[in-house]
Symmetry: C2
Subunit: 312 residues, 2 copies
């Protein structure tokens, strides 16, 4: 069973052959080709990835929100007042209607209450402990198995071609750092995300960084290019997202000089993952329209991905 | 003229032989030694450097402040009101007494007025253009020649041994990025500094990042470990500073597990550079005391550095 690819293994085996896969290969080869007109030096090969819905599943609930819910349950004995205070009561009673009513304000309240008060080292341990046992409600697997296999291959393929791969996500920066290396091969210093305020303290002469109950920066929409400029200080040449929250990051990437790759992941597969047309999440409308107008790459998970998760 | 080092060139030729130089070699070798008890994997070899007074000269005036002064002069025709508004008037008239009276508040006002209003790309061009022509008032050389040669060698030596080298400085992050690669071999994504607020805008459909006239983050004292945690997400194993503003960064570095290197540069050489006991700047008192108590390395520029600048 010899085939043409035998001597040169396909770096993207979970992607179906076709135009989308070819557009990725063409981009990378043209950027790497030292003698071509689109050559980009290694140092400038910066690629940025949204996380929720782009690198791993975000349905039926952001994984970080599942973490916050579990923390509310774990901390409830120390907070008897939560039994009749919303949105905590809703979490403790599994009352999703009351949770939905609490909206974004309620979410922020839950995240703030469960993500602050401890030191940065303590939070890292809490997050890692949670990832070691928590399971996804639909797939009944550890959340650490919810990374999209085609994107994991894409990250590795880009790095093999001299790219530096970054996460730029609305998720909490320290929460993602607890798993970014293991899931994606991305070290902590290449993770950019939302963050709370912090305080430096000496405790018995030992310095600690204490997480404060106040949002410092929300890394979404306009925040993404601003964070890219602050943390990286150069414009990416490739950007990957899945929702309108990623539009500005893709716009910012698109308007640099030279060849660029902008790619959107469209959730179209109710069977193997989720179809956002059926169960809406992470609105993808304005960005999809702009992608069609400007010729950005749109990946239909159903059509372009041979498999979605490594465990399939 | 054969000597013992002939086959293995000294990576720190501008450092005098002795205890300080030996302590650097011992630290690096013990961290690199795969079979030793102090081995640190490459990914965790993070080294952080203050900039002003640690990597380059900061007397008689922070180089960034000299830039701000020159910008005030360049922009004065568009701001006739500056002719009789402090602290601008003081800059235009070279009135250092009035400038000193304006204090830190005045400095912030000058920096804000000259560092905002333009896009991030425009600011980068302005800074690079300035560096191409501006000269240091005492040495009459481009400011880009004001890097301390022993520190440039140390940066290269650490990188040759698998370290990732970062700047963590009170200076402006984008200002430093304009020269960090050229002077220190440090890419923009490894420069951490103070920053102003920014705004994302579409101008005729083209996205730009516009610098706002408001401080976002001051990367000094407690701010340094907080910025290290936010930008890098791991604790450094080596830290280099020259003033009390670097104390918290050294404390944070010192209290991790395993072998560490904390080093302070003490300005003791009035002849070749500056003696801060004669012309005080960047107060070094509390940090020096803690260094002596805890056995951190203190470099006397006069005694430990064979030469200070490459042009000597």
């Amino acid at each position: 069973m010899v085939n043409a690819n035998f001597t040169q293994a396909d770096p993207l085996p979970s992607w179906n052959d076709g135009e989308v896969k070819r557009s990725i290969f063409t981009f990378v080869q043209s950027v790497v080709d030292q003698n071509g007109p689109d050559h980009v030096p290694t140092a400038a090969r910066i690629a940025v990835f949204d996380n929720d819905g782009t690198l791993w599943a975000e349905q039926p609930l952001y994984i970080q929100l599942a973490f916050a819910f579990d923390r509310v349950k774990a901390l409830a004995p120390e907070h008897p007042e939560w039994r009749n205070t919303q949105p905590f009561q809703a979490v403790l009673e599994g009352d999703y209607k009351a949770l939905a009513a609490a909206g974004m304000k309620g979410v922020l309240e839950l995240v703030t209450a469960t993500h602050s008060g401890m030191t940065s080292d303590e939070f890292d341990r809490i997050a890692r402990d949670w990832f070691a046992t928590a399971r996804h409600p639909r797939f009944n697997r550890p959340n650490t198995e919810l990374a999209y296999q085609p994107m994991v291959e894409l990250l590795a393929y880009l790095r093999a071609n001299g790219f530096k791969t970054y996460i730029v996500s609305g998720g909490g920066i320290e929460f993602m750092r607890a798993i970014s290396e293991q899931l994606y091969g991305i070290p902590p210093e290449q993770v950019i995300g939302s963050s709370g305020k912090t305080r430096y303290e000496l405790r018995g002469g030992m310095p600690v960084i204490v997480r404060q109950p106040e949002l410092d920066f929300f890394d979404d929409k306009e925040g993404k290019p601003l964070a890219i400029q602050k943390f990286i200080g150069r414009r990416p040449i490739a950007a990957f997202g899945n929702s309108d929250g990623d539009l500005q990051m893709l716009q910012w990437t698109a308007t640099g000089a030279g060849r660029r790759l902008m790619l959107l992941v469209d959730h179209t597969d109710a069977e193997r993952e989720f179809d956002y047309r059926v169960s809406p999440m992470g609105r993808l409308e304005v960005a999809l329209q702009e992608a069609q107008q400007r010729g950005w790459t749109v990946v239909s998970m159903k059509d372009h991905w041979k498999r979605i998760f490594a465990f399939e």
